[in-house]
Every structure is written in structure tokens, then in C-alpha cells.
Amino acid sequence: MTSPERVPAIDGWFTTSEPYTLIGARCTACGTYVFPPRSGACPNPDCDSMELEPTPLSRRGRVWSYTENHYAPPPPYVAADPFEPYALAAVQLEAEGLVILGQVARGVMAADLAIGMEVEVDLQVLHRDAEGVDHWIWTWAPVASETKA
């Protein structure tokens, strides 16, 4: 499954080969975390550091909340035609103290999710462009033992 040629839908937010992780940023002075990753000023008002460095985030977290889109989002989302409903989950990463939103692995719907459920980072194709190139995105996928079904 691993393919180093995978083109991410956005650069630098996640690894494109296993183990899949999100990439955040961490302040070199106070240690606070940021996602999405960026450079520049630390968001902590009591820290004047200008150094945030990229850091892999925990692969697993717990569902804070979730929903399921029943209508195609407007552009710049590239929606499949016909549109297939899909789920989104906001997931809490305990060590980093972050809640991060993501698409849920295709085929896993709201009815399959619950607040507190353990999920982990995986990748799937977000869309295929006009040149036939697949653009990949991170997803939250239920950890095998946690699936309701």
C-alpha cells in the first residue's frame, strides 16, 4: 500500500508513507502545539518565540464530535458526481491537547461513530485532477477493535 509518489492535497500537513501521521508544529521555547503546521510566531500570548518546528502528532485520538455531509460542499471542494455522503470527525489528541477535524475514512458513516471512539490517521484520495493525478488527504479511521459493527 505504501507509495512514496502519493501527492498530498496540501503540502506538509501529513506523511504520505507509513506510518501515517499528521504533522503539526511545536514551539521550541514553550512547547505548545499548533495544527495546521506553520512557521512564525508561537500562539501562546506569554511566549515571544518566533520558532515553531514541524513535529509528528499522535497517530491515534478519540472522537470529540462527528457529522455527515449529505450535500456536496461548494467549490473549492471537488465533489464526486454523483455525490456520496461522507462523515467528518473532530478528534482529540490527548498528548498534544488539540482537537483536529478530518474526513472519516470512506464508507464509515455517522452511525458507525460515537464520541470517545478511538480512531487513527489513514490516507485516502480526496480527488483526481484533470491530468489523472490523485490528490491524497488524511482521514480518521476507526481502530479495528473499536468499530461498532
Binding site: 501562546n44 455531509n69 449529505h70 467528518l88 498534544e96 491537547g97 482537537v99 464520541i115
Partner: protein, 400 residues
């Protein structure tokens, strides 16, 4: 007790909300002239114009203060234009209030108007990979209703709310909105109507989510001295007790539209008062009033479930107990503390830069006893609250 610092709302006016696609300036002029007539002022009397901007109508929308001043006819008035997403109107009020309290003007016009496209709110065009708004749409398809739904799901799974509780908010607000001549949707909905309403973002149905609308609202505010000179008395006037525009305190640990992630609380502990609680808290502090003093409130019901959050953020009940206030009729017209007696966004749809000013118009009519058909009996204190993107909280308290 009011003070000389509590400015007077001398006049208010609105253009009805709807969906016509006409130039937003046209709506704004109707609202401005209605507010001037209500105040008994001529346009030339206005010393300061505070425009609330719209980003969806080209350059004239970006400099709304100037656009409306020109449309009404240049008079050399002082000016400001503000954009703060849903809080733009409140930002206009703050701008006018600060200018007056600083002594640079005695009387000001605050004005906002919008024309909106159909369907989901989409980000403005272009490939802007650094823009969180572009990111959340392109990478996730995280629409505004999706964010409302994440919040609603928390209410169901954590607090035990039901979809019927959410529907009851719409039923309540639609009942109030029927009597409001400025509301766009003047139809009474029932719980039965929800069964046929399609799910947009689970668990929210189309009827749970506010539409986008065209509309305009304007208010004229002035010093007590100015009002006294015009009216002969301050008796019965509506006073501005608080305008609190508030940012979150780091770390903001509640996932809020349009962010893909929260701040981190791994190193810095979350503040005792969450962001939305702090918006109301700051306004209460400024006014020297509390939730027990309120006669009515206008809250930003972008979704039905969100209205229940506001009950808790306003301190009307403890966290998690919001649904009980709609179940027992407390927040309905005729209840102990009517919320959204205007019909709310559920009856209006949102006309972004005009909406916070429209809240002010409604409270003014309520406090004057002029909200025919949807009047809160003996209203003496009213609060309006909303939240713009990226942490632009706003809360206004009026009293008579």
C-alpha cells in the same frame, strides 16, 4: 442606573429580509432613511457614518461606510467601515460609540446591508492555500452547517438533547417571526414539518439551519445631551449599556468555525471562562447587569442547536440544561425570558453585515413597546449576542 456614557438609540430602521438579488446599496438606503425618519433627523444632521462591510458585493461592499455616505449624498461626515464577519454590525456600533464617547461626534448612523448568493456559503474565489477558509472547504468540505452539526452532535451525545429539542427552537422562533413584518420566512412550523426536512449535516436538517438573505438595518445613536435637546427629555429612551467585542483567551479549546483545529491546552491550561461565555460576561460587567436583569435576548441562531448553547453562554441556565428552557416555554414569547422574539435568524436568514444591527433594531422596538404582534411585555433590558469568524465575539445590552 444609566449614566451620561450610556448613549441613546435615537432611531432604528430596516429593509425587510428576503432574496431578491438587487444591489445591497438599495436596501441600505431604505433602512437608513427609515432610521432617520424614526429619529426625526435629516441626513445632513449625521456627523459620523459607521458602515458594516460585506465581502460579497465587490469594492463598494468593502468600504460600506463610504458607499452609503455617497448614496445618501456626500455631506463631509466622518466615517468608518468595519468587517468582522457576523459581528460586522456590532463592530459598526462599537466604532460609532467610541467616536461619540471620545467626543469627536454627537450623533452617528450605523448601517449594514447585504445581497447573498443562493446555497451554502462558499469562500470567496481563487486558490488561496494559506487561507483557513479555503483549506476547510477544499480539504475537508467542512461547510458552515457541518460545524453547526458537530456542535449539535455534542449536545445530543453529551447532554442528552434530542432532535426534537432542536426542532422546538425553530417552532418557537417561527411562531414569533410570523408577526414580524421584516422577517423573510413568516410561516409557522411544527414538529411534524421536520420529518420531511432533509438532513443536511447529520444530525441537522434543512429546517435547523438558517438561510442566507438579503436585508439591511440601520441605527442612529447619539449622546444623552443630544437626545435631550431633540426630545426635551430622556424619559423612555433606549440606552446602550454595553457593547463588548471580545476575543478568545488562549488556548481556545472549542472547535469553532472556520478552524480545522483548536488551540492546544497541553502547555497552557484552558481559561476558566470559555470564549462564548466570556462574550456575555464582558457585556454584563460593562453594563453592571446580569442574566437575572434581562427581559429578552436576541441570540445568533445560525442553527437551532446553537440557540441552546447561547442560553448557557448567557448564564440563563447551567451548561447542558439549555434544552429545558425551550421545552418548558421559558424562552418563548409569553415565557419568563423570551429569546429571539424577532423570530431570530431562523425567520430572517442571515444578511451578514446587517444582522447584528437588526438585533439592535428589534431590541429597540421591544424596549419601546413597538414590537406589535411579537412584543415582550414590559421589556426593560434586552441583550443581543453573536459571534463573527476567527474569534470576533460581540454582545450588546440595551435598557430603557
Amino acid at each position: 442606573m444609566t449614566s451620561e456614557r450610556d448613549l441613546v438609540v435615537l432611531g432604528v430602521g430596516m429593509h425587510p429580509w428576503g432574496k431578491w438579488g438587487r444591489n445591497f446599496v438599495e436596501y441600505g438606503l431604505v433602512a437608513a432613511r427609515a432610521a432617520l425618519a424614526d429619529a426625526g433627523l435629516a441626513w445632513r444632521d449625521i456627523e459620523f457614518v459607521a458602515g458594516a462591510d460585506t465581502i460579497r458585493n465587490g469594492y463598494p461592499g468593502f468600504v460600506a461606510g463610504s458607499t452609503f455616505a455617497q448614496a445618501l449624498g456626500w455631506t463631509g461626515a466622518q466615517i468608518s467601515s468595519s468587517y468582522a464577519a457576523c459581528a460586522s454590525g456590532a463592530q459598526g456600533v462599537q466604532s460609532a460609540r467610541a467616536q461619540i464617547l471620545a467626543g469627536f461626534a454627537d450623533v452617528a448612523l450605523v448601517i449594514g446591508a447585504d445581497t447573498t448568493p443562493k446555497g451554502f456559503f462558499a469562500p470567496v474565489g481563487g486558490e488561496r492555500k494559506e487561507d483557513p477558509d479555503w483549506q476547510r472547504f477544499h480539504l475537508l468540505g467542512a461547510t458552515n452547517p457541518a460545524f453547526f452539526a458537530l456542535n449539535a452532535r455534542r449536545r445530543i451525545d453529551v447532554f442528552g438533547d434530542t432532535p426534537d429539542d432542536f426542532a422546538m427552537v425553530k417552532v418557537k422562533n417561527s411562531r414569533a417571526g410570523v408577526a414580524n413584518p421584516y422577517a423573510r420566512f413568516r410561516k409557522e412550523f411544527t414538529l411534524e414539518d421536520f420529518a420531511g426536512s432533509p438532513i443536511v449535516s447529520d444530525p441537522l436538517r434543512l429546517l435547523d439551519i438558517c438561510a442566507t438573505s438579503d436585508g439591511a438595518a440601520a441605527a442612529i445613536i447619539c449622546t444623552p445631551e443630544y437626545a435631550r435637546a431633540r426630545l426635551g427629555t430622556l424619559e423612555g429612551t433606549v440606552r446602550i449599556r454595553a457593547v463588548a467585542n471580545t476575543t478568545p483567551t488562549y488556548p481556545q479549546i472549542r472547535l469553532e468555525l472556520p478552524d480545522i483545529a483548536t488551540d492546544s491546552d497541553a502547555v497552557v491550561a484552558a481559561p476558566a471562562l470559555g470564549f462564548k461565555d466570556s462574550i456575555a460576561h464582558n457585556a454584563y460587567e460593562q453594563a453592571g447587569l446580569g442574566p437575572e436583569d434581562l427581559s429578552c435576548a436576541e441570540v445568533y441562531d445560525l442553527s437551532t442547536a446553537l440557540e441552546l448553547d447561547w442560553y448557557e453562554n448567557l448564564g440563563l441556565c447551567a451548561e447542558g440544561e439549555g434544552a429545558s428552557l425551550v421545552r418548558d416555554g421559558t424562552t418563548a414569547l409569553g415565557g419568563r425570558l423570551p429569546v429571539n422574539p424577532s423570530g431570530g435568524l431562523s425567520s430572517f436568514g442571515e444578511a451578514i453585515p446587517a444582522q447584528a444591527i437588526a438585533q439592535l433594531c428589534e431590541l429597540t422596538w421591544q424596549l419601546r413597546g413597538q414590537a406589535e404582534g411579537h412584543q415582550v411585555e414590559n421589556a426593560t433590558v434586552g441583550l443581543a449576542i453573536n459571534q463573527g469568524l476567527f474569534g470576533h465575539g460581540s454582545c450588546t445590552i440595551l435598557s430603557r
